[in-house]
Each structure stands twice: as C-alpha cells, then as structure tokens.
Symmetry: C2
Subunit: 371 residues, 2 copies
C-alpha cells in the first residue's frame, strides 16, 4: 500500500473539496487546519488536548527547529513525532519564509541563502539540498521545497526572479529528496500577479509533486487580493493532489480559501491571539480583557464544547489574563484551535451537501463585531 | 450529618497519622499535600490534570484573591470552587503571611493591619473580622484565623507579642465567623521557641477550633530547628483534630512533618521549582536545563506515571525549557505535584503498616545529589 493517497469525497459546485488524505501517520479529513507547533510544541498545549478538540495534523517550523534543538538532536531522538509525543501526521515548512522575514538575510544567490539567527546572530546557510536533508532528519509526513519569499510590494522584476528561483530550487529539492515516507510539496509563488502565479504553477507541474502549496499570501495584501490570487492560482493546480495555503489565516480567510479549492491551512493566529486574550467564537471575536466580562458567568462560546467553554466562565478567563496566569493563554489557545477545527469540520459537511457557499453566508451573518 | 469529620485510621508508633478528613466538598486522605492555586489557578494546570495525579485538596491565597479579582467578584461568581472549576475541597489562608512578607506593611495595631498592595501600592486594611468576611466570601471548606507572622530572627519580646496578638485575633475570628460549612483553624505561632509554641497552643485550645495550623516555620531557620519545633508543638495539639503545617516544604520536610503528627501541607515548591526546570524525582532532584539531558531518551522519572514521564523524554523537556516553551513549566509542575502526591500516598500506606520511620530511611537512601 502506498504511503500517501488523496481521495476526494466531493467537490462542491463552487470548487470546494472534501477529501481524505492518507499519510504514514494517519488519515486527514480535508479541508483541514494545522495548528502551529513552532519548536515541536503547540504553545502551552499537550498532544492529547489537541486531539480532544479535533486536531488531526500539526505543523512544525524547520527554521526554528534547526536552531533549537537542531535537526540532528530531533533525528537522534527518533524524529519529530516521537520527540514531541504526537503520533498523527506532521507537516514541516522549508524554513524559507522565516529566513526572509524573521532572520537577518546576509546573502542570497542561486546556490543558497545565508542568514543570521534571530536568537543569537550566529550564521547559517540553507540550500535546497540542506532544506531536504534537515526535513528528512525531522521526519515529518509532508515537507516543503525551499522557496524564495520576497516581501509584499516588491517590483515585478524581483517577483519574477523569485518565482524562477523558486522553480529551480524546487527541481533541486525534488532531485535530492530521498525518503519515500514523506510527501514533498512544491510551492507556487508570484505574489498577487496572476501571470506570475500561472507561470509558477505551470513550471512546477512537470516536477509532478504529490501536492502543491500556495506561498507568499497573507503577507500584507488586502484579503480581496488574496482571494482573487487564489482564484487564478488553484485554476492551474492538479485536481487530484492536496493544496495547501501557507500561513493563512483568519476564519473567514480559511472559508474563502476552501471555496477556492484549498485543502490544507496553517496559521499561528488561534494560538497567538489566544495568548493575547482574543478569542474567536461562533458569535464573533471576544476580547477577554474587556471589563464587561468581569462578572460574566457565561461561557466564552456557548456553542463550543472545549474545556475552556464547558468548565469556566468568561469572568474566570478574564481574571486569568488580568492576573497574568498561564492558564488564560492555555485555555484561550485551546478554544481558538477548537473553533478552527470545528469550522473545518462543519465546512466539510457543508461541501458534502453542496452547501459551501451557503455556509460562508451563514458564517458571515453569525459574526458580530468584537465583544 | 455534620459537614466535617476527622477520622484517624491509624497512628504509627512514631506519631505519624493516617486519617480521613470529611469536608463539604469531599473526603481528603491524610497526610495530604495541597498544591497552591494562588489566584484561583495552580499555575498552568487544569483541575482535571491535578485530579489525575492524585490531588484531593487545593489552597488559595486570600491576600492575592482579595487584590485580584477581589473576594466580592469571587462571591458574585458563586464562590471559589465554581469560579475556578474545582469541585474538591479548598483551603484558604488568612492573608496574614503575605501582609507580613510580600506587601508593604504600613501600620499594625491590635485592631488591624494596614498595608499597601505589592501590585500597585494601593492601601488596604485587614482586621480579624475582615479576614473572616473575605474568606466567607471566597467560600473555601477550610479557612484560617488572621495571625501575626514576624520574620525569622526577631527578639523574643517581639515574638511573644506576636503570639499573644495572634491569640487575641483568633478569639475575634472565632467570634465573627458564621458559615457552618467552613472549618476555621487556629494558627499556632512562636517561632522556634518551645515555650512560646506551648503558650500559643495552650491559649488556642479553649477556643476549640476544629483544626490547628502551625505557622511561622520554614521561614529561614535550619530544617533541624523546624523539626524540633514541630516536636514540641504537636505535643500540645488535640489528637482528634487535623493539623496543618503551613507553607512547608521540600519532600523530606513533609516526611519529617508527617512523622511528627502533621496531616496537611501546602507549598509553592513543586510548581515554582517546576517552572524553573527543577524536578523532584524518585532518585533525587533533576535540573532539566543541564546539557547532559540534551539527547537523553529516558523519562524524567521512570517510577512516575504522570503525563510528563510517560509521554516525553528528558531531551524533550530540556528542549522546552531551552526554547522558552510554556509546556516545559506545565509538564514539570505537573510532574512535581505528582511526586508530592505519590509521596503522601506512599507514606499513608507506610503509616497503616506502622512503617513510617522505615519509609523515611528508604526515601533518604533513594535520593541522589542533583542530576
């Protein structure tokens, strides 16, 4: 039996897809949201707590893991799954995005990127071959080609050069990747330029990747521009492979992405916002530090069955944040992930009923301004 | 049926006691260790996680709760149990200890203490009657009289005056306390002075408290002095009432306390040390930041069945601390509490077999220097 298989249960008239993606560590129902476990830990949460709110697959960041504890240590400890105690599927990114945003990039040519660590300034190099080697050491089920991620708003010449370098790097990644128990995805770049997105996608297709990622979005552009870019990008992607929209986004962005044929998402938003007392709920965002919650016995979200919502009041959650208690970020992060996972689950059922567009309208109608 | 009952299952020849203490929120097997939930949260841990490692009773700090979120908010939210989602027994201290250590004490007379908050400098007063009112609002099962807690090393005159004020305040607490679903404990003071300890205990006995606490220990004195003080203190306490040694301590201190007839303990050490990467194990303390653990696949404590020890390696725990991940403090705090709870449980069984002294010897022999 092959390690990977992608089966589409349904494709909604608008293009939304409900699928099942088989990986060496289990099946993922798509569309799926992957919480971000930056350095082999989804901040503050245990694997069993993630499973309890419906998480099937996690993401780890190669850049962060390569710095701490290093890919070699993870490999020596039996790989990322064993190291972090997560027996479900894992995806790692290539490190490209962080090199071009978080680290200090000191040199970039076709051979490799040279950069300084954001932690202690120590110098590292990352070539496409390095990215493959490191991700093989980490041992995730799904890994990413190294791509060049120029910031939003660069000239079309820079964007074109980045697309073509990303294509050349993708070929080298495909060439050097060895592990058959890992699915290597190509990454489509091209900013918000439709022609460049088409160029990027079409250049990657001959490399016959088992899945394709869409990179370089949600980096500062208007949401409408992200959505229109998705429209012209997924058009060129093979229907029989999973599609992953990297680093996106708000709940509505996930819905809009799914309606445009995206299957996989990751984003730090549920955990980062959760640490900052901002909760996503079935009735709209809630700012838990707001004084109005001081004596509110109501659950954070009456429609949510996570621990934060079934065992505690808004008053208690607010108190935890005001007193600087760790349990506030923990519970709110867990709730936000539960919200994202339920969103994907509900959306999947809507797709199976050909009701994805109705689902979007109902979701938008349910969301009140921040509370 | 009365709300409270204390039943002694066994008293070991050395004086260690195995009991069962019935409270309105359940039975506590003694000797028992109470983790500290300072502001209505045991830092980083959920009630269900505490229960899973054997915790039966928690402690809350009146001083901290009175400042945040205030006793009135807790009362409005249905009391501390409901507010923090803990349905087992809870004990609150009186706030006395924090007023004399953490806050800035600005005035002290027989009527009351006046102090400034350590958070924002705002001024508060606390009389014995206030301490009762606030603890009635919080609604713990077991509450404490307001006591004067002079620092270690004061003159015997100051110590004597504090003992006598503590006695006068205890009478006022007894007089003003109304809730029959709360057990109010008197607190024996007297530093390490045997005569003052006797004086304090004998002055409190006529007030017929349902239990007695020993305060003012583990505040800087040598452990041997704490133990000898316990010897001369428990001597004067009624055998048929629970005895609580406040704020103590290391595992060996708990064992020595139990051997001297103490039934209840609380201490921040398992959680505070846990947050600082120091673990208590069946083989001695472990410093998890130590480089020697970098590639150690072994569990933190092979004899422990907590999540930290059964799901993760020392290498992973070390990585979490080195990367500043919340999960390090969470898992190590949980493990340390599990260690304390198992210690009390094992000690209880030893008492039932009249083997408490042997247990102490075996524990000491098992503990290697920090690892």
């Amino acid at each position: 039996m092959p390690a990977f298989a992608f089966h589409l249960d349904a494709t909604d008239p608008v293009g939304a897809r409900a699928g099942r993606w088989t990986t060496p560590h289990g099946v993922v129902d798509t569309p799926a949201f992957m919480p971000v476990g930056t350095v082999a830990s989804v901040k503050g949460l245990l694997p069993e707590q993630l499973k309890a709110v419906g998480v099937q697959m996690l993401l780890g960041n190669t850049y962060h893991l390569a710095l701490r504890p290093t890919a070699q240590v993870v490999a020596d400890m039996g790989g990322l799954h064993r190291f972090m105690g997560w027996d479900g599927p894992i995806l790692t990114d290539s490190g490209g995005f962080q090199i071009f945003s978080l680290a200090k990039l000191t040199k970039l040519d076709d051979q490799r990127a040279v950069f300084r660590s954001h932690i202690d300034g120590s110098q590292f190099e990352l070539s496409p071959e390095d990215a493959m080697h490191i991700q093989e050491q980490l041992g995730a089920d799904c890994i990413m080609c190294l791509d060049e991620c120029p910031p939003h708003g660069v000239s079309s010449e820079v964007l074109l050069a980045a697309v073509d370098r990303t294509t050349r790097w993708a070929a080298r990644c495909r060439e050097s990747h060895r592990r058959t128990d890992q699915a290597l995805f190509g990454i489509v770049q091209g900013g918000t330029d439709a022609a460049l997105r088409e160029r990027s996608a079409k250049a990657l297709l001959p490399l016959d990747f088992p899945g394709y990622a869409v990179g370089g979005l949600s980096v500062g552009e208007e949401p409408s521009l992200m959505y229109s870019t998705l429209d012209v990008t997924t058009l060129h992607l093979p229907r029989d492979r999973p599609r992953y929209l990297m680093g996106v986004g708000r709940p509505i962005d996930l819905i809009e992405g799914v309606l445009r044929g995206i299957d996989l998402f990751d984003c730090v938003m549920p955990t980062r916002n959760g640490r900052n007392a901002m909760a996503f709920t079935s009735r709209g965002p809630v700012k838990l530090r707001n004084l109005k919650h001081q004596r509110d016995p109501a659950p954070l979200d009456p429609e949510c069955d996570c621990i934060a919502c079934t065992r505690f009041s808004r008053a208690y959650l607010r108190h935890l944040f005001m007193a600087g208690e760790m349990l506030g970020p923990i519970l709110t992060s867990l709730h936000n992930i539960a919200h994202y996972e339920r969103l994907m689950c509900d959306l999947r059922r809507a797709i199976l009923k050909n009701r994805a567009a109705d689902f979007r309208e109902a979701y938008i109608a349910s969301q009140k301004p921040a509370d």
